[in-house]
Structure formats: structure tokens, C-alpha cells
């Protein structure tokens, strides 16, 4: 139609950073590295790595809300916990093995997210944060109080089958499930639906007047995020061989927010980096400090005050400064 070639629609995302080819190589290398990890790491570090993988999925699922749609949910742990309880309840009541329970978890967590989201998307901003928090605590209380079904605050035991018991096998299982889930989430963020969520975050009013029923899209994002959090939770229960009500508690809900902010919310990989920072910091603090919350709180305070782009953001900024100076 026109003589001159059209400019590409997508700006080479982070064009300053990396080409598509380099990215593919890096991601591919990382994946291979992750699959080789259990053959070099000791068992205790392997458990830490499983923890990281689960938290990474939890954080990325959350960032679909905060980073992509601009929805500040503070009750995301509810769906994480529900995923864990889906596995636990199916195992205890119907003797369903955990890997089948895991398949059911996104549907259960997503269905409850649909029920909660139906109310919650009626409001926005801080109001939405309070409401999701309140509903999350409601679900926590129900799980705590419904002894007959959930075991109350004793929790519910979960026993993985023999082949999943060795740390190496469970690691490989979790790695595969996490990678498949992250790939699905990546597709969603790059889809027309994901673009619509970006648009709603950018300018809600304009999004409405290009024909987007914004509440429905927010509800959709809430359900998808809840479903993937459910998968993360479903992998948590067999790891601890237990589902605890504390998985739904609001202090657990703060964790994906922290991870996303620590890593940076406007990139897909940000929350994954945030999860690595979070899991590692947490491990160090709980090992060496008698007052882990205090230390952790102070670190969070300092990050919020002095590193607005998160740890990863600060590293990237420093890297860019270095590169500019080198030129």
C-alpha cells in the first residue's frame, strides 16, 4: 500500500536492552540450567529452589493484576491457599493423588476468585485493596473454622506418591509445572486480552470508550491470576506435606506484592527476580535473626524509600549508567 516499509507496531520492547535472539538464548540457557540444577545442588538447596519456583509463579500470577492491569489486590494468598487445600482435601476425602489434585486446583481457586472478584471489581484503587484483603481474610477464617472439612488450624496432611518424594524428582516436577504455567502467563500478557489490561491500567476512561467493558476484563484478570496462584499453592502443599490455614493469611498476601515491587512490576521477568531476592533474603534472615519480621520490615522500608524501581530496577539503572559511561 505504501512504498516505504511500515514501522513495527511493537517497539522492540526494552530495545535498549536485548534483541529477541539474545533473549531466546538467555531464557533457553536458564531453562537448561534449571533442569541440570538437581544434579549439582545438595538437598537443602534444592528445597530452597523449589520454594523459589513456587514463589516465582505466585508472584508472576499476581503481577498480572498489579503490573498489567494496575489492580492492587491484597488478598492473593487466598487463592494460593485454596490451591493447596484443593490438593489436600481431594487427597484426604477422595484419595486423589496430588498430581491430579494439582490439575483441579486452578479451577477451584479460579471459581472462588470469580465469586470474590464479582464483588471486588465494583471498586478500584485503595478500596479494591481493602476489599480483596477483607475477602481474603474471610476465606482464611472459613478455612480456620471449618474443622470437619479443612482440619481447622491443625491443617490437613498431604502425602505425595513415592515417586515424588525424593527432592530431585519433586524439583523436576515443580520446575515443569512452573515453566508451563509461566509460558501460559507469558502468552496471556502478550495477547490482545493482556494488551487490553495494559490499556485499562493506562487510562481507564479511554479504555471504556474504545469499547472495553473494563469490569469484565478486570474480573477476567482476577480469575486468571487466582487460578495460577492456585497452581502455585497446589505445589506448596506436597512440599510441606501439609496444607495450613496460614497459607491464606493476609501476611502471605503481602509476599507477592513485595516480590513484584522488589523485582519491578512492568516487566514479565521482574517478579521472578523479586521472588529470588525474596526467598533468599527470607532464608538468610530466618536462619540468622531472632526477629526476622523486624529485619525484613526494615529492609522493605529501605527498599521502598530508596529504591523506587525495586532491586532489579536499581541494578538495571546502574547497568545503563555504566554502559553510557563506557561509550
Amino acid at each position: 500500500m505504501t512504498a516505504q516499509p511500515l514501522p513495527p507496531l511493537q517497539p522492540a520492547a526494552g530495545s535498549a536492552a536485548l534483541s529477541m535472539r539474545t533473549k531466546t538464548v538467555i531464557v533457553g540457557g536458564l531453562i537448561i540450567g534449571l533442569y541440570l540444577l538437581p544434579f549439582v545442588l545438595g538437598e537443602s538447596y534444592l528445597f530452597l529452589s523449589i520454594d523459589f519456583l513456587i514463589m516465582a509463579l505466585f508472584a508472576v500470577s499476581y503481577n498480572l493484576l498489579l503490573g498489567q492491569a494496575g489492580m492492587l489486590s491484597f488478598g492473593h494468598a487466598a487463592y494460593y491457599g485454596l490451591g493447596a487445600y484443593t490438593v489436600a482435601i481431594l487427597f484426604n476425602k477422595l484419595a486423589v493423588p496430588v498430581y491430579i489434585g494439582l490439575l483441579a486446583s486452578p479451577f477451584i481457586a479460579g471459581a472462588i476468585a470469580l465469586a470474590v472478584g464479582w464483588f471486588a471489581v465494583r471498586v478500584t484503587g485503595m478500596y479494591f485493596a481493602m476489599l480483596t484483603l477483607a475477602f481474603g481474610q474471610l476465606l482464611h477464617t472459613v478455612v480456620m473454622g471449618w474443622y470437619g472439612f479443612t482440619g481447622g488450624d491443625d491443617g490437613l496432611p498431604v502425602m505425595p506418591p513415592d515417586w515424588l518424594l525424593p527432592a530431585r524428582n519433586y524439583y523436576l516436577f515443580v520446575l515443569t509445572v512452573t515453566l508451563v504455567s509461566l509460558a501460559a502467563l507469558r502468552l496471556i500478557t502478550l495477547s490482545a486480552f493482556g494488551t487490553a489490561l495494559n490499556a485499562i491500567r493506562e487510562n481507564r476512561q479511554r479504555a471504556i470508550f474504545v469499547g472495553l467493558g473494563v469490569r469484565n476484563y478486570e474480573l477476567g484478570a482476577f480469575v486468571i491470576a487466582g487460578a495460577f496462584a492456585g497452581i502455585a499453592g497446589a505445589m506448596r502443599a506436597p512440599l510441606q506435606q501439609m496444607a495450613f490455614p496460614s497459607l491464606l493469611h493476609w501476611s502471605q498476601s503481602a509476599e507477592p506484592v513485595l516480590m513484584a515491587l522488589a523485582g519491578g512490576i512492568y516487566t514479565f521477568a521482574g517478579p521472578i527476580v523479586g521472588a529470588a531476592i525474596f526467598v533468599f533474603t527470607n532464608f538468610v534472615i530466618t536462619t540468622y535473626s531472632e526477629y526476622p519480621l523486624l529485619v525484613f520490615g526494615v529492609i522493605v522500608l529501605l527498599v521502598v524509600l530508596y529504591l523506587p524501581g525495586g532491586v532489579a530496577g536499581a541494578v538495571i539503572a546502574a547497568w545503563e549508567r555504566l554502559r553510557r559511561r563506557a561509550r
Binding site: 492492587l72 471498586v123 473454622g145 519480621l293 523486624l294
Partner: protein, 291 residues
Amino acid sequence: MMDEILIQALSGLSRGMVLFVVASGLTLIFGTMRIANFAHGSFYMLAAFLTYSVATMVGDRTWGFLAALCLAPPIVAGVGALIEWGLLKRIATRPHQYQLILTYAITLIVADGIKMLWGSDYRTVARPAGLDGAITILDMPFPTYNAMLILVGVLIAVGLHLLLTRTRFGKTIRAAVADGEMIGALGVNVQRLFTGVFALGAGLAGLGGVLAAPVGSVSLGIDSSIIIESFAVIIIGGVGNVMGALIGAVLIGVVHAVGILFVPKLAIAFVFIALCAVLLIRPQGLLGRNT
């Protein structure tokens, strides 16, 4: 059975009054500064522990409680002012999530700080002399202290109403709640207003903590239960509206207390059913403004 429900409702009313005092502070902070302050429950918990320490130091239970009543709320208000002035002010222009996370970090620090200073044991605070007995209502005993709480709650509601309608400070707060952007244009020192409101709100949380200390247990973890209920109160009542907070708190207190009679473990669910009903009918809260 009917009498039992009535007494239980009355007991819920007294609990609701404590909740009102705490939530009124939260709603003023939210309404003025548009911040959902997670640390509010920490202020409440801090005041409860301060009450324990002051009462123990003074020795006499009546004078001890009165001393705590005079000391703890201003101390907590001071802590609140410091947090606003030293921390929140610095990130006032950043997106909501940073403010939320900052107040969340404060809850962690306060929780472990209290654990460091007071340990993790349960503490109890004796009721002042004269308020430790019971009065008879419908041939049933009702704790005098709880009856006093209802009275005090009403007095504080009236006091807050006068503060908001009769004083310059109060009128400025109401203007800020109604239209946050206008307030700077009116020549108000927004910085001082925010610090003042945050201190006032923290002080109210502290007052709630003192009042609750002799009826509940003084222990770690009371911060998170009160903050969730306070959020529910201000969603039901409408942001920035003190009378809405009164209605919401009483509603939650009574519904919860009566619910306990029927489903002890899941009574909180009734609170959320009320919350959902309000959201469906009036998303802006019962007395909230339609924007």
C-alpha cells in the same frame, strides 16, 4: 433464648464501640490522605501493651488504668505523627502500592518490636475498681465495664462530631475528605493537615487499644484482627465518614456477637455477608458520597 440474644447483642455493641473508636481514626486517615493504613492495627496493639506496662508500673488498677488512658493515646499519636512526617510524606507522590507496602512494613517492625520488648506471653489488664462488677439487665448479669464502653463510645462519637463540625481543623478535614484536590488551593497547609490527621487517627487507634485492654487479651496478633474489621467498617460506612464508621462498627459488633451464638467458629462470615450486601446496594458505603 431471646434474652440471651439481647444480652449478646449488647455485648456486641460494646465491642462495636471499641471498633468504632479504632475505625474512626482509620476512616479519617483514609478519607483525607487516601491511604489504607495497615499500621493502624499496630497502633492499637502498641497502646494495649503500653496500657499493660503503665498499669503494672503504677500498681493500683484504677489509677493505673487512668494513667494509661492519659498516656498511651498521646504516645501512639506521637509515633503516628513521626511515621507520617518521617516516612509517608517522602513517598506521598508515588503509586498506592508503595504506601500500602510501607505501612505493611511498619506492621512487621512493630509486631517484632513488641515481641522484643514485651515478649510473646499473653498479658491481662485489670479493670478499674467499680467497673469490675456486673449490672443486671433482663435478669442477666452484664459487665459494668462493657456498659461503660458503650457510654464512652457514644461520648467519643459526639466529641468527634463536634471536632469535625465546630473546629477549623475539623472543617478542613471534612473539606479534604470531600475534595482532596481543592484543599491545597484553599491555602491550607496540606503537609501539616496530613501529619495532624495521621496523629489524630493513630491517637484514636491508641484510645481503642487502651479501652480494649481490660476486656480482651493483650497479645501479639490482635493487630491483624482489628485492622481487617476496621477495613470492613469503613467499606460499610463510607470512606472518611465518622458517623458511617459508627454505624458500620455497631453493625459488625452486633452481627458478629449474635452470630457467635449460632455458628461459633464462622461468625465472621456474617460480617462479610453484611459487607457484600452493602457493596451491592451502595458501593460507596452507607453514608459515603457518590462520586
